[in-house]
């Protein structure tokens, strides 16, 4: 293979989400002469971003004073909060806990907001490259991170170079900022290589699914923020819903399930669709149309799971570190603050060293510390969690106890050891999408078919032997995009991977009980094409 072409920057940012873009913008504000580039695997900025999203505006005020005069494309002040506890047919209004009071916050499309941030970044002469995936890490001779390697394009499924083959270049930089989002492809490798999680609990996750609807005129109440818990989840599964009323009759509706659930037969996508058929929600959606749909894992480990966020030559910001505040159900302000802090650190030190201590001493980690026991309290079921959450909230996290966090891939119950999945009494569904394939259509996901499969199964034998017996192949259920199917082949059942359906949510990489599914970056520009998600 020929020598890769090299581009040199002072700082390379991997991932154009709120953390990465905030970091790049702040860097250029502080040091206009620095050469800063942002690379992004989605075909355009925001196309792989999926979030609620209700955001706290404080970091935007700090980063871009005056932004309120020229706000992101979708930006609606929150007018009212509602929290509901749902039963199958009924609902009860709950008092809004302080973390979930959204007065002063805004409903946005985070995807559209990232496009808006990117335009501001480009005005500061930051080079932004959508459509290029950072597939590998460039290490210096001393073993520090020295930049990234862009994935080759035009490689066939068999690994052979096609006529359009183009070798990916290397981008070298003094500091690499990893802002890849939850379960980042490079972050995952670097956390392992530098043992960044040695002193922290394992990271834990949830899967968030979302649809953007245009509802019948009159049903949407711009500025209304609704959350729910309860049905269709049983008390053993942590999760709930959001419904955000935006403008132009548009409603963002979504559902989050903790990925620490035990039932291998549980289908998160189905739970979301069931929620949509609760009378309260069904009435809202009937007669409307879906505009976009998708899914993305979220990090839920918080304070206990936060890895060391620096290593030689690189640092982690945003949700590839895991700074989301679970009780608030918000990560954007935390990601932006971490990005801004990283920029200020790099501007001062021109190196990664010292960032972790700075982050831990910042409001970002202080915020996580206060709520550290709320999510793990729910390991013992909903009601005990609810009680504990109330205590932790009242004491502002000052109790001298820190509950441990467990890894999601260890939580499934074994079907061959007598576990009986509960009957969930699902209702018959009428609202679209009919199934996961129909949902993927609304994600507008696209992958060149003739490319190596980007979902690597490290030990394929396990799928048809142990996994079938022990868990009945849960990948066929936890994947929200129907990527995994068990099909009858000549020699019995075999796993079929419909990689082109993948929406890059990373759930498989997280929840697989044997940790043999390895999500790697496909050809740059592949993946979902979310609009206003």
């Amino acid at each position: 293979m020929s020598e890769r072409e090299v581009m040199e920057y002072d700082v390379i940012v991997v991932g154009a989400g709120p953390a990465g873009l905030s970091c790049a913008i702040r860097l250029k504000q502080l040091k206009p002469d620095l050469m800063v580039a942002v690379i992004e695997k989605s075909s355009e900025i925001g196309a792989h971003i999926l979030s609620g999203a209700v955001i706290e505006p404080e970091p935007l005020d700090r980063l871009l004073p005056g932004w309120r005069d020229d706000p992101p494309p979708i930006c609606i002040p929150v007018e009212r909060d509602e929290i509901w506890l749902l039963s199958k047919d009924g609902k009860r209004r709950l008092p809004t806990p302080p973390q979930q009071k959204n007065h002063g916050n805004f409903i946005v499309s985070l995807g559209a907001m990232c496009g808006w941030l990117a335009a501001r970044a480009e005005a500061l002469e930051i080079d932004i490259f959508p459509g290029y995936a950072a597939s590998g890490i460039h290490f210096t001779e001393k073993g520090a991170v020295g930049g990234v390697i862009i994935g080759d394009m035009g490689v066939g499924r068999d690994g052979e170079q096609k006529d359009t083959y183009m070798q990916g270049i290397e981008i070298h930089a003094a500091v690499t900022v990893l802002s890849e989002g939850v379960r980042g492809h490079l972050s995952k490798q670097l956390i392992r290589r530098f043992e960044l999680d040695r002193d922290s609990d394992p990271q834990t996750y949830g899967i968030g699914m979302k649809e953007l609807w245009r509802v019948q005129p009159g049903k949407c109440k711009p500025g209304l923020v609704q959350h729910s818990t309860g049905w269709p989840l049983d008390t053993r599964i942590y999760g709930g819903s959001f419904i955000y009323h935006m403008d132009k009759d548009r409603i963002a509706i979504g559902f989050v399930c903790g990925l620490d659930y035990a039932d291998p037969k549980f289908v998160p996508f189905e739970a979301f669709q069931q929620f949509k058929h609760h009378p309260m929600v069904r009435d809202l959606l009937e007669g409307g149309e879906i505009l976009s749909a998708g899914a993305r894992a979220i990090s839920e480990g918080g304070y206990q799971s936060l890895p060391k966020t620096e290593m030689p030559g690189a640092l982690l910001v945003g949700d590839c570190a895991g700074t989301l505040n679970v009780p608030k159900i918000k990560g954007t302000h935390q990601a932006m603050k971490a990005g801004i802090l990283a920029a200020e650190h790099i501007a001062e030190k021109a190196a990664a060293e010292g960032f972790d201590a700075k982050l831990r001493d910042s409001e970002v980690v202080r915020e996580l510390y206060k709520v550290r026991n709320i999510r793990p309290a729910f390991y013992n079921g909903f009601w005990r969690g609810f009680l504990r959450a109330a205590i932790e909230t009242v004491t502002a996290g000052k109790l001298p106890v820190t509950l441990p966090v467990h890894a999601d891939d260890k939580s499934l119950a074994r079907l061959d050891q007598g576990y009986t999945p509960p009957d969930r009494h699902w209702v018959e569904r009428k609202l679209p999408p009919r199934d996961r394939l129909a949902s993927v259509y609304f994600a507008a996901t696209a992958h060149e078919e003739d490319q190596p499969i980007h979902l690597q199964i490290l030990e394929p034998d396990i799928c048809t032997t142990r996994c079938t017996v022990e868990y009945d192949n849960p990948c066929t259920r936890f994947c929200p995009a129907n990527v995994y199917e068990m099909v009858e082949g000549g020699a019995g059942k075999a796993l079929q991977i419909n990689a082109a359906n993948c929406v890059h949510c990373k759930t498989c990489d997280i929840k697989d009980p044997y940790q043999i599914i390895n999500w790697v970056t496909p050809e740059g520009g592949s993946g979902p094409n979310y609009q206003n998600m």
Binding site: I150, T164, I169
Partner: protein, 248 residues
């Protein structure tokens, strides 16, 4: 020889196109925009001709608002030497676009003009044909193979009954079909180089072209929703169901 390539900014082919609720147009809010894929093939062919030493310069041209500069930059990053934006705030019909391109042709005197066979947004397939007529030069549409000769070009055309091979004199207008080539990926460093390549802006009025149109669009409507299907057990039931619906 100079080659002029037309590029249109269109809704990306991966986007699910939606008609606005009031039927006034297509929803482009937050929608990804790209170079019309057929125009990308046209540009790829022009670049290959230049790389084969048969042309000296490739110029990309787009007619539209400033947002189409993004697509012109993509063309420059692919390898075009310079770009021309014919600036207008109005959405033009093919005849006006062809007239604008003719204005640029008169200035630049290209030996070959290559366009996509149609744009994937309105599917008109008219600009190339109209341009050839206005310019009074030969045209070859739906090209799936080009061979440059001395003063002429041999073109294999995709027609309803198969393939047709014709030879036309240069200068000429060629519109290209899907199978002509597979466009290259853009190299990252070339995106940076493209930022420094010349991009001239020419107001539509300067070319003496009017944005007025003899056509007016009344409304847009999405295709009718497909009714839900049923699964039939066998051929007999299929026939019966079709009869029940009065279809046979």
């Amino acid at each position: 020889m100079k080659i002029l390539v037309g590029i249109k900014r269109v809704v990306d082919y991966n986007v699910r196109v939606r008609v606005l609720p009031d039927g006034s147009g297509v929803d482009t809010d937050g929608v990804k925009m790209s170079v019309n894929p057929f125009d990308e093939i046209a540009l790829e062919e022009a670049l290959r001709i230049k790389e084969a030493g048969k042309a000296e310069e490739v110029i990309v041209i787009s007619v539209g608002g400033d947002e189409c500069q993004q697509q012109l930059r993509t063309g420059l990053a692919m390898g075009a030497d310079r770009a021309i934006q014919v600036k207008t705030g109005t959405s033009l019909q093919p005849l006006s676009v062809a007239k604008a391109m003719l204005g640029i042709i008169e200035r630049e005197q290209p030996g070959l003009v290559i366009l996509g066979k149609q744009a994937i947004d309105d599917d008109n397939s008219q600009t190339g044909q109209m341009l050839a007529a206005l310019w009074d030069r030969p045209q070859a549409t739906f090209a799936s193979k080009l061979t440059l000769n001395d003063g002429s070009v041999t073109v294999v055309r995709e027609v309803d009954v198969g393939l047709e091979t014709i030879e036309i004199d240069l200068p000429a207008v060629i519109t290209v079909d899907l199978r002509l080539n597979e466009p290259r990926f853009v190299k990252l460093p070339d995106i940076m180089k493209a930022k420094r390549k010349p991009l001239d802006v020419v107001p539509l009025e300067e070319l003496g072209v009017s944005a007025d149109s003899n056509l007016s669009v009344s409304h847009f409507a999405p295709p009718a929703q497909r009714a839900k299907g049923i699964m039939v057990e066998d051929a007999a039931q299929l026939v019966q169901e079709l009869k029940n619906r009065g279809l046979i």
